[in-house]
Structures are given as structure tokens and as C-alpha cells.
Symmetry: C2
Subunit: 207 residues, 2 copies
DNA sequence: AAAAAACTGAACTGGACAGTTTATATCATG
DNA sequence: CATGATATAAACTGTCCAGTTCAGTTTTTT
């Protein structure tokens, strides 16, 4: 018997449950996924699942948290400024776009946006372990550029919000709405190059 | 008896049904709203609702469509370039931000993103009657600026995607995720001015 | 005022699904 | 190999909800 609201991590099949839940939630969303689907996918009995997770909501929260951490770690891997600022930013942009255009990234976004009304904590969890990390790293990166005299930015926080938005131009919304399943590398490059161009045109001291 | 999938618009209480549905869907989302809630809110019998709409999904689709049209018409009201380009864009940005930051606009976005997996047509419906209209008008506006020699833009379509994204910087995501309920006028102005500054820095011929 | 159309209320059907229970089986380890 | 922890299958409970039905009432039309 669990203490109410507690997740118990011991036991052989914990990973199995989580992996099955991940698969089904990512495929069907929160409401669309039934617990029976999940136990079938996980190859586990319902009683086992409920011995680990007190309810469906907390199971989903665990999946979302894990997913965000994995994603943002992959996406955020050092922007360590190689000599050339433009190159560094272009590469960072590429990683970000891959971050939010991946199947899993997109699906997490959809679910989180859709459910953040009913589960407010999920919105914060997602923001902190994803977008907020990107923002922090970008701010540090930009500030360093300013300190080194490569960039001239009055409002670094604003700039750190602007750049990721520019990288979404024409890509993110059509995907989130299911109008497009994917984009070609050329389409993506066009947006990234355009983002970096626009950004550096204002903020670069000398290019 | 309706032809399958057909919506019947005749009858006294059609508007009443739609208005009740609007209220409840906007408050509770699609899954969260029960048809019984809707008929109660609308002051109408369940049989009446089902004499107009063959099912819940099509009722929601109708609400979303109506909502988008109303919104985008309000938001898009002429960007007729008053002499000053910067002023015109700043004002257009203000309208756009008000467009997607309003309670209803935000809620439609949440629901549509959340449900566009299960109902693909809803994503397209929303995109075409909202964001696509803004995009078209912006493209025409920018092209005119280019023709008049005020702007220099290689890729007008890209620029028309970039500008709205810039207007979302730091505002849209925290709202969509429920981290912030609202923003002060100062916060919004900062983002709008920043967007116009960045945009015109690259694209304006002479400012 | 009669006929037709629209509406009502309330009960009902059928299905989906979260979470529980129970009796039984398997595993890990000392 | 014995014992306690972990897992299982399957049936069950209770709830929620979309959509239907129907006998009767109100409104509109003619």
C-alpha cells in the first residue's frame, strides 16, 4: 500500500512500465491513452502498474518529466562559442529546431499545452526542464558575447526570447496543428539562416 | 433525421446552442465539456442540440470556426500603411498580440493544439481562418513596402513568418503553459518595440 | 383554429475506462 | 529450499458520458 500520492521506484518492472507509458502517451495523448493500453504495451499487469503509480496523472507526469530532461539535455549541449559567432548560433539554432520538431518533442508540446489547464504543475515542469534551460544558456552565451565586445544588446533577456521564436518561423505552428508532418532540410536551413541573419543584423557589433 | 454529418441551421434555438457551446468549450476544453453541461448552459434540451448537430465533434468544430473568424477579423483590421512604417507595424503588432493573448484566443489555441491530433481538420480550419489570414495580409503589406522602396526583403514569405513570432517572444509560451495569466502593458510594449526594432533593423531601407 | 414544425424533459442504452480485489504464481536470496 | 517480496490474470465496481427515444408541450404558419 502506497502513501497517498507517492511513487514507489523499487521493483523489477518499473522501467518497463515507464517505457510502455511513454510509448502510449506519446502516441495517443493523455486522454487518448487508456491504462489498459499501457499495461498491454508494457507487458505488465494492471495491479503492478498501480503498485508503482497511485494514478494515471502521476504516471503521465513522470513520463513528461523524464522526456523533457532527456530532450533538453540533448538539445542544449554546449553552445561553446567556437571563434565564429555566426557559426555557433547557426549550430545552436539547428539543435533547437531539431529539439522542438522531433516527433517526441512535438508530441510533448501538444499534450502539455492541451493538459496544462487541468494539471497546472505540468506546464511549469515542462517549461523549467525545457524552454527555460535553453533560455538560460542562451542568455549566458549572449552576455558573454556582449562582454567580449562581439555583441551589443540592451535587453539580453528579450534577445534570448527572440532568437528561439525566430527559429520557429513558419515551422512550429504548422507542425503543432498537424498541417505538416515534417520539413525538408532546405526548408529548415532557410528559416535558420534567416533567423541568424536577422538576429545578428541588429545585435552583432561587427560581423 | 439528418443526413449523416450534416449540420442543420434552421430553427429558433440554433444561436442559443452555439453560444452555450462556446461558453462551455472555452471554459472546460473539448474533453472537459459534457454535452449535458452545454445543454444546461444553453437552456435547451439535449434532443434539440442533437437535432442541429450530429455529434459533439462537429458542434465543437462549428464553435471553433466561428470563434476564429471573429478573432481574426478583429485582429487583422487594416494595416493600411499610414505614412510611417514603424508606427504602422507597431500598431499591427499590438493588434496581433492582443489577438493571441486574449482569453478566448489563448483557449482556442490550447484546445486546437491539443485536439488537432484526433481531429486533423480542426488544425487546418484554425490555421486558415486565423494565422494564415494574418500571414497573407502581412505579406501584402511587406510587398507593398518593398515596391515603394521603403523595405528591402529577399524572402517576403519568411519575413511575414518572422514578425509574428517576434511578437510572441517571452509572452506566448508562458501563457500557453499556464505559467502566467496576463502581462502588463509595459511588458507587452517592451516585446513589441523590440520586435519592430529588430525587424526593421534588417529590412528597412531607411528608417 | 387546425396543422405543422420546433422543442422539452426525463428516462434509457451501451460503451469506455479508472481503479480495486483476490487468489495464484514466480522470483530473489539467505 | 523456504520465505517474503513482487508480479499476474481476470473479474468486478462505480462512474461518466455520448447519443437515443418518446410522449407530450409550445410556437409558428396557414
Amino acid at each position: 500500500m502506497n502513501a497517498p500520492g507517492q511513487i514507489v521506484k523499487q521493483g523489477r518492472k518499473w522501467d518497463q512500465v515507464l517505457e510502455g507509458a511513454r510509448t502510449v502517451f506519446m502516441r495517443d495523448g493523455f486522454e487518448g491513452a487508456s491504462v489498459d493500453d499501457i499495461v498491454r504495451e508494457a507487458g505488465v499487469s494492471k495491479a503492478t502498474l498501480y503498485s508503482y503509480f497511485p494514478d494515471k496523472r502521476l504516471l503521465f507526469l513522470e513520463v513528461a518529466k523524464t522526456e523533457c530532461q532527456a530532450q533538453s539535455e540533448a538539445a542544449v549541449a554546449r553552445i561553446e562559442a567556437s571563434g565564429n559567432l555566426r557559426e555557433a548560433m547557426t549550430e545552436a539554432a539547428g539543435r533547437m529546431v531539431r529539439f522542438f520538431m522531433s516527433d517526441v518533442g512535438m508530441q510533448v508540446y501538444r499534450i502539455v499545452v492541451g493538459e496544462s489547464q487541468r494539471f497546472p504543475e505540468i506546464g511549469r515542469e515542462f517549461y523549467n526542464s525545457g524552454p527555460a534551460k535553453v533560455r538560460d544558456i542562451l542568455m549566458r552565451f549572449l552576455q558573454k558575447g556582449v562582454d567580449e565586445g562581439k555583441l551589443k544588446i540592451d535587453d539580453v533577456a528579450l534577445a534570448a526570447d527572440q532568437f528561439p521564436e525566430l527559429c520557429k518561423a513558419g515551422l512550429h505552428l504548422p507542425m503543432a496543428l498537424g498541417l505538416r508532418k515534417s520539413f525538408t532540410d532546405d526548408e529548415i536551413d532557410r528559416v535558420i539562416v534567416g533567423a541568424v541573419d536577422l538576429f545578428l543584423c541588429k545585435y552583432a557589433v561587427a560581423d
